[in-house]
C-alpha cells in the first residue's frame, strides 16, 4: 500500500535520505526506527508531498500523495503533534480538519471519545495541553475520516507506558481491519511494543528491515541450568559459544532451539531457556545504528546510548 522506491533527499551536500526502498502492506503496523536526524521525518514528509524528493518515488496505493483528491479523507497523517495553533481548542482543531475533509461533525466527538480526551479537555486551548494530550489529539485528527492508511511521525512521543499500550491496541485493531500503518520512533521500546514489521534507518540509509520476530531472532538466547558447568561443556561440544550472564546462566548468539537440542543431547537439565532479553534488543538497535549515527562520534561508551536517546527530542 505504501511504496518507497530508491528515495533520496539531498540538502546541499548533506544526503538526508539515501536511496531507501521499502513497502508497507495492509494489515500490518510498520515501525520506522532510527535515531534523531536519521531521515525518518524527511521520508514521511516526502511520502505526504510536503517535501520534494531529490530522486526516487514515494507512493500510496500506487499514487503520489499530491495526486490524491481530498487526501486527508483517505490517508490519516500526523507529522508533528506540536504543529497546532496554541490558541485553538482541541475540539476546534478537529472541527477545522473535519470541515476541510467534508466530514460529519459528529466524527469529532467520536474521535475525541476514542482517544480519551474528555469534553472538558477538548474545550481547552491546545497551548495548555501536555505532549501526550497533543499526541492523542493528533491521532484523533488522523483517524477522523476512518482512512485506510495511517502515517504517524513519533506518535508515541510523550505518551506514558499505558498510553503506548493503548496505541498498540488501537493500531493493531486498525491493521486487523485491513489498514496500513507506518509509524516512526527513535525509541526501540516503543517500536517493539507497537510494530509488527520494523525498518531501521540510520544516517539516511536503511540498515535493517524485516518482521519484528526476524529482527529479534538476532538477539540470541539466555539459558540457565542446574549444573552450569555441564551446560557450558555441552554447548561448547555443540559448537555454541557462550558468555556467562548470571551465576548459573549464559547468553549466546545461538538460537534457543539449537541451545535446547544441545542441552537435551547431553542430558543437561535446564531451568530456563528463552530468547535474549531487552538488553540484547538494545544491543541490536545499537549495533545496527552505531556506525551510522552521530552519537557514535562521541567518546561516550555504547551503554549510555539508551537513556541519552530517551531524552532527545525529535530532530
Amino acid at each position: 500500500m505504501i511504496q518507497v522506491q530508491n528515495l533520496s533527499k539531498r540538502y546541499g551536500d548533506h544526503l538526508a535520505v539515501d536511496d531507501i526502498t521499502f513497502t508497507c502492506r495492509p494489515g500490518t503496523v510498520t515501525g520506522f526506527l532510527g535515531p534523531n536526524g536519521a531521515g525518518k521525518s524527511t521520508t514521511l514528509r516526502m511520502l505526504t508531498s510536503l517535501t520534494i524528493p531529490t530522486s526516487g518515488s514515494a507512493t500510496i496505493g500506487g499514487h503520489r500523495y499530491s495526486d490524491i483528491p481530498n487526501p486527508g479523507a483517505q490517508i490519516g497523517v500526523l507529522l508533528d503533534a506540536s504543529a497546532q495553533h496554541n490558541g485553538r481548542t482541541g475540539r476546534e482543531v478537529l472541527t477545522i480538519a473535519a470541515q476541510t475533509m467534508g466530514l460529519d461533525r459528529k466524527r469529532v466527538d467520536e474521535m475525541l471519545d476514542l482517544v480519551g480526551l474528555s469534553p472538558k479537555e477538548a474545550k481547552r486551548r491546545v497551548g495548555n495541553y501536555s505532549l501526550g494530550m497533543r499526541q492523542r489529539l493528533g491521532i484523533a485528527s488522523s483517524l477522523l475520516a476512518d482512512p485506510q492508511v495511517l502515517i504517524l511521525d513519533e506518535p508515541a512521543n510523550g505518551l506514558d507506558p499505558a498510553g503506548i499500550h493503548w496505541m498498540r491496541q488501537l493500531l493493531r485493531h486498525y491493521a486487523d481491519r485491513g489498514g496500513t500503518v507506518l509509524l516512526s520512533s527513535h525509541l526501540l521500546h516503543e517500536i517493539e511494543v507497537i510494530a509488527d514489521e520494523i525498518i531501521v534507518i540510520g544516517n539516511g540509509q536503511i540498515v535493517a528491515q524485516g518482521s519484528k520476530d526476524e529482527l529479534l531472532a538476532g538477539a540470541g538466547t539466555f539459558v540457565r541450568a542446574l549444573e552450569p558447568d555441564e551446560l557450558a561443556r555441552a554447548l561448547s561440544v555443540a559448537g555454541i559459544h557462550v558468555t556467562p550472564a548470571t551465576a548459573d546462566g549464559f547468553s549466546t548468539d545461538a538460537d534457543p532451539a539449537d541451545v535446547g537440542k544441545a542441552a537435551a543431547a547431553a542430558g543437561v537439565a535446564l531451568v530456563e531457556l528463552r530468547p535474549g532479553d531487552r538488553a540484547g534488543l538494545e544491543d541490536l538497535f545499537l549495533q545496527l545504528t552505531a556506525g551510522n549515527q552521530r552519537d557514535a562520534l562521541a567518546p561516550a561508551p555504547a551503554p549510555g546510548f539508551g537513556p541519552a536517546v530517551q531524552q532527545g527530542g525529535q530532530a
Binding site: M1, D80, I96, Q99
Partner: protein
C-alpha cells in the same frame, strides 16, 4: 494475526476539496484564534470609536461634516488593522506550524493561498460594511444637530473605498507570504506603509527627476482617486504601475515561496 480485509485501494475519482469549503475553513481559522477575534473585534470597535470621537468634536465645535468625512476618518485605523490581519492569515501557518496540517489536507498550496485571498476580500467587505454603518449613524446624528445631512458618497466611490481596504489586506497577505514570519512581516509592512513614503517625499523635494517619478511608484497616493475620484488615463496608469511594483510582483514572489518552501 486475524484475517485481513481485502485492500480497497486509493480512490482517485473522489471529488477534491471544493474551493468554497477551503474558503469557509480559512474564514473560520481567521476568527477562531484570540489574535483573529481581537483584530476583527478591534476593527468594529475602532470604527464605532472614531464615529463617537468625530461626533463629539463636530457637535462641540459646531462644524459641518459629511458622510464622506466619517468614512475617511475610519479608513485610517482600518488601513492599519486590515493589513495585519492579512499578514497573520499567512504567517500564522508558519509561526504556529499549522501549515504542516493545512498542506497535508490540501497539497495544492495554490488553492489554499487563493482561499486566503478570497477570505481577505470577504473580511475587507465586512470592515467596509461596519464602517459604513457607523459612519451613517454618525452622519445622521451630526446632520440632525446641524439641520443638514450630507450623503456625498455614491456607489462607485463606496466601491472604491472597498477596493482601498481590499488592497490593504492584500498588501498584508503579500508581505506575509514574502517573509513567512509574523513579526518580520508586520514590521516590514509598517516600514513600507509609513516610513518609505516620507523618505520618498523628502527625496522628491531634493531630486528633480525623482519628483516626476514619484507618482508612478507611490502606491498609496496612486490609490487616492479610488475614493476621491478625478480619474484620468494617467492616474489609472500610475495605479497600475505602482500596483505592479508593490503588490503584483511581490505577491508572485511570495506565492512562489509559499508554494515551494519546504514545510517542516
Amino acid at each position: 494475526m486475524t484475517a485481513v480485509a481485502p485492500e480497497v485501494g486509493i480512490d482517485l475519482n473522489r471529488p477534491r476539496v471544493p474551493f468554497t469549503r477551503l474558503v469557509g475553513v480559512e474564514l473560520r481559522k481567521l476568527a477562531d484564534t484570540r489574535a483573529g477575534k481581537w483584530l476583527l473585534g478591534a476593527i468594529a470597535a475602532i470604527s464605532v470609536l472614531v464615529m463617537v470621537i468625530m461626533l463629539w468634536v463636530v457637535l462641540a465645535n459646531d462644524i459641518s461634516v459629511s458622510f464622506k468625512d466619517f468614512l475617511i476618518a475610519m479608513s485610517v485605523p482600518m488601513g492599519v488593522l486590515l493589513p495585519v490581519l492579512g499578514v497573520l492569515s499567512v504567517t500564522s501557518e508558519w509561526s504556529q506550524r499549522t501549515a504542516l496540517v493545512t498542506f497535508t489536507l490540501e497539497p495544492h498550496r495554490g488553492r489554499v493561498l487563493a482561499a486566503k485571498v478570497a477570505v481577505g476580500l470577504v473580511v475587507a467587505l465586512f470592515a467596509v460594511i461596519v464602517a459604513a454603518i457607523a459612519a451613517a449613524f454618525g452622519n445622521v446624528i451630526a446632520g440632525a444637530a446641524s439641520d443638514a445631512t450630507v450623503w456625498n458618497v455614491n456607489l462607485l466611490e463606496l466601491l472604491g473605498f472597498y477596493a482601498m481596504q481590499a488592497l490593504g489586506i492584500l498588501m498584508g497577505l503579500t508581505f506575509g507570504a514574502l517573509l513567512l514570519s509574523s513579526p518580520a512581516a508586520i514590521v516590514v509592512y509598517f516600514a513600507w506603509a509609513f516610513v518609505i513614503p516620507t523618505i520618498f517625499q523628502v527625496a522628491a523635494a531634493f531630486i528633480g527627476w525623482f519628483e516626476d517619478l514619484l507618482p508612478w511608484i507611490d502606491f498609496a497616493t496612486a490609490q487616492t482617486p479610488l475614493f476621491d475620484g478625478g480619474w484620468t488615463g494617467e492616474k489609472w496608469a500610475q495605479l497600475l504601475v505602482s500596483g505592479t511594483i508593490w503588490l503584483i510582483i511581490p505577491f508572485i514572489i511570495g506565492a512562489r515561496r509559499v508554494l515551494r518552501s519546504e514545510i517542516k
